[in-house]
Symmetry: C2
């Protein structure tokens, strides 16, 4: 029987708090440090590894965290989720994004449908559609091949798919999987749509309208923007647009689209990269086989998340260490620092995934919690960040835990040797150096050049960023966020915090304002 309890109600959490703190500088020094880096390393899906040697934990703390995982019933709650219990209690919805990439437990039937079969069907429909676009069977009005895909969506319909596209673009070009360039329109700022359209060959572009409800104002506005532009260019919008939406949405059966592919209410936007939301654009860009490999990586990570031993379950371990840093050590933010230019927008996706899921003050029963929940998430790729905000990370007055990601091989394989090393080696050397610099610091009589160390990080290391390792990386963080939501006793799958702004914005547009809102509206020329 699952008990949904607040973190502060768990006896094992008290034990975690009582554990002796680890002096990172000390444990990471000398040969003990070397042993630690070898031992505090957990295999992940997709050939990745989660190395947490530079986190401020030791075997005692890990044992206490394992007890916390048990008391918080993380395995049982995860099992309930993938077996189709109503985990999103606020919106009274199942949470089924994992079914888009595999079957972890029992068949889940909802609305009279086997949901796994439904998601597979959508994936297959997309694959068939993409194949026809690539072969030219589906073409523009003149029978010419489409050469570009443009996704119109915002939030989860934009950040994840965009980050995944950028992550695989160069890999696909190198390996012969690149089929079509993709571009993205998201912001209601008219300069976004107009600017992107300036770089699009509209006559040869297929536009992917993504909105689960079919009512997202920004997305519908940008759709009209695009339709206008197509019409003005003498093109028929219905020959250039497809929809990704829910079956009950107004977009689902419209003649305005070449085709429609479906998701449903059981997949939150920020968890939708492995559904049709990511599937359409990624299958068009790279082919459906690449998308299938990406799903395999994610499914493998989902399976790993079932492990009961936290040292075999990297996403659970990552979640527990994160809660330790947030609720015991009191750190307010976490930086995500991929040493991979291909992951340049991965931090922006994680920022949504994490902050929208767990940036909440009430538990799943709607009662205020008395502990900090989700941290601020931010990041940029290394080495760029090193020449930017790392100053604060090294010597600022707050400690910010760090999540590094690094690969042994580049995607394109083009490289140069300068001063005896390749660029890829320099990249790897830098991330290794940073971990040790943050953990161990450096003494110096000149306090300006003194580094106190004790700044914790973990690193996920892989051979190369491929569709499979990318899928595993994505699902690792989805599952980490899920486990943290369980620990904090939050509903990680709704987002009521975004509603108030929408309501007030509508009021402004209807000129139904008074007080401060009326004056701001005037200042902004509305």
């Amino acid at each position: 029987m699952i008990a949904w309890k607040n973190l502060s109600e768990l006896a094992s959490f008290e034990k975690v708090k009582e554990c002796k703190k680890v002096c990172l500088k000390e444990v990471m020094s000398g040969e003990n440090g070397a042993e630690r880096v070898k031992n505090y390393c957990v295999p992940m899906a997709g050939g990745l590894a989660y190395n947490f040697a530079a986190k401020a934990v030791d075997d005692d703390i890990l044992a206490a965290l394992a007890a916390l995982a048990k008391e918080a019933q993380l395995n049982e709650k995860y099992e309930a989720l993938y077996n189709g219990e109503m985990i999103n209690t606020g919106e009274k919805r199942l949470v089924l994004h994992q079914l888009t990439r595999g079957q972890q437990g029992n068949a889940v039937v909802a609305d009279g449908v086997d949901k796994r079969a439904f998601y597979v069907e959508q994936q297959e429909k997309i694959a068939a559609f993409a194949e026809k676009v690539h072969s030219g069977e589906i073409a523009n009005e003149k029978g010419e091949k489409f050469t570009q895909a443009v996704q119109i969506g915002i939030g989860g319909s934009d950040l994840g798919p965009r980050a995944m596209y950028i992550a695989l673009e160069n890999w696909a070009k190198k390996t012969g999987h690149f089929k079509m360039e993709a571009k993205f329109i998201s912001n209601v700022d008219p300069d976004d749509a107009a600017g992107v359209l300036n770089g699009v060959d509209a006559a040869h572009a297929v536009f992917i309208l993504v909105s689960k409800s079919g009512t997202t104002l920004e997305t519908l506005t940008n759709e009209s923007f695009v339709k206008d532009a197509l019409t003005k260019a003498g093109l028929d919008p219905s020959k250039h647009m497809i929809a990704v939406t829910s079956e009950t949405s107004p977009l689902a059966k419209s003649a305005d689209y070449l085709a429609a592919f479906f998701m449903d209410d059981y997949i939150g936007g920020r968890y939708s990269s492995t559904s049709a939301v990511g599937g359409a654009v990624l299958s068009l860009a790279f082919g459906s086989d690449v998308f299938a490999e990406f799903l395999d990586g994610a499914a493998e990570a989902d399976a790993t998340a079932k492990e009961t031993d936290i040292c075999k379950n990297p996403s659970m371990l990552d979640a527990l260490i994160g809660v330790y840093e947030r609720n015991v050590l009191g750190y307010p933010a976490t930086a995500v620092l991929p040493y991979s230019q291909a992951l340049s927008r991965f931090p922006a996706h994680l920022q949504q995934l994490d902050m929208e899921s767990n940036g909440k003050s009430v538990n799943r029963y709607g009662e205020p919690v008395d502990y900090p929940t989700g941290p601020v998430i931010f990041g940029e790729p290394g080495t760029n960040g090193q020449h930017s905000f790392y100053q604060l990370l090294h010597q600022g007055t707050n400690i910010v835990p760090l999540q590094f990601v690094g690969f042994r091989k580049s995607q394109l394989g083009t490289d140069v040797v300068i001063q005896g090393s390749t660029s890829q080696q320099k990249l790897g050397a830098n991330v290794a150096a940073q971990i040790v610099a943050f953990a161990c610091g450096k003494d110096d009589e000149d306090r300006n050049k003194y580094f106190d160390g004790g700044r914790p990080s973990s690193i996920i290391i892989g051979e190369q960023l491929t569709p499979k390792s990318l899928g595993a990386l994505l699902a690792h963080f989805e599952n980490k966020v899920m486990f943290q939501g369980f620990l904090w006793n939050l509903n990680s799958f709704d987002q009521e915090g975004v509603q108030l702004g929408k309501v007030l914005a509508k009021r402004v547009l209807a000129h139904e304002t008074d007080g401060a809102l009326a004056v701001y509206s005037e200042l902004l020329g509305i």
Copy 2:
């Protein structure tokens, strides 16, 4: 006589702490709220306005902050800076980036040179060079016009110029100022250079190598990468490259470059967008007149920063309110949220500017300070962020102060009317709505839909993002960061925190490692 004192030594800071706190929800409600929005608004340079009605301050707190500004001698310190005193005491350097765009005080002579004249000379040399490139007088080996500019730089040589280029690209296209597309290579990840080069027509590209010292490893590596690619394409690199560097650097008088333009040690990387570092790429992309207008906006902001009345000095006021939020209210992070897609990379630039300048734990004498200094800075453009991390900003357990930016007009002017309003109106309506939602919250019996409000923000409002308003916006934040550095008694112009990582990375590449570092290096395949 200037006294450099810690914030905690200032009697006026004690008074600030003693001020009665403001209940934002209360003061922003009803007609009082409307009055507040009208009154708490300060004109800025470039036609912008700084509206701080939704900050948790009142006339008492403002008076206390004005007294703090006086005791901390903010005006005198700024005057010392622009008159050429050695403000960067750690590196024993003057701080002269403001001279690149105007003369705020006395002539500054350093190294036997009038520095203002020197910067103007560089600007003129760049203008003449850009003119010749645009006219075709300077052309490739075959006498064909250059059509692309590719900047090679990292940190301050990348983030600022890149953000400014993106900010003006669409404006320039609309107004007929667009001369050449610009691209940027920064990361030592070989996939960055290789990926960018895949999209570059190398035969018609001019590459801008930017490194003050001429020794930045990432940049020199990427230069070699580019030279390799040019040579392999049968092109002569020396006919395709220019350098922006200091006169004493190895790049300064090399035959490897078509031309060299100079900056010097008195301009920190993160303050260099208005120097030759931004000047070369922006003048090539948009013409030197556009760059000159951008400088005018910045100079106007620098002049405004001289005001002694904090209600006429928006950057000083912004700085004081930020210190109040950080050191009295205890908020650890600040989000920068431009409602302008053109400013999509402006938060990344501010992240460097702020976190690298003030992310420090020792004062300008190298003594540890006993108060928090620079916060974590992050952000993405609205409305995108609304569908992402705003959930945490509205309902998370930490309060994050917000810096909005909004404009009444779009840059491209293309728009559509949907549901009775244009996209630009929707954009403005959203930012107005967000400010009020954050400040005032909303009661609801369902705690899940309850917003406690009291979340402070300010907004900078302008007519349109143009070269001039962009320059003013940039300099506003540079000056804000400078004033905060004065308040915290930091040296905001060095960055010793980035050194340790460089040293350790070199050790890895030389295989001179042991302990943890050796194992990490092995795991990363070095």
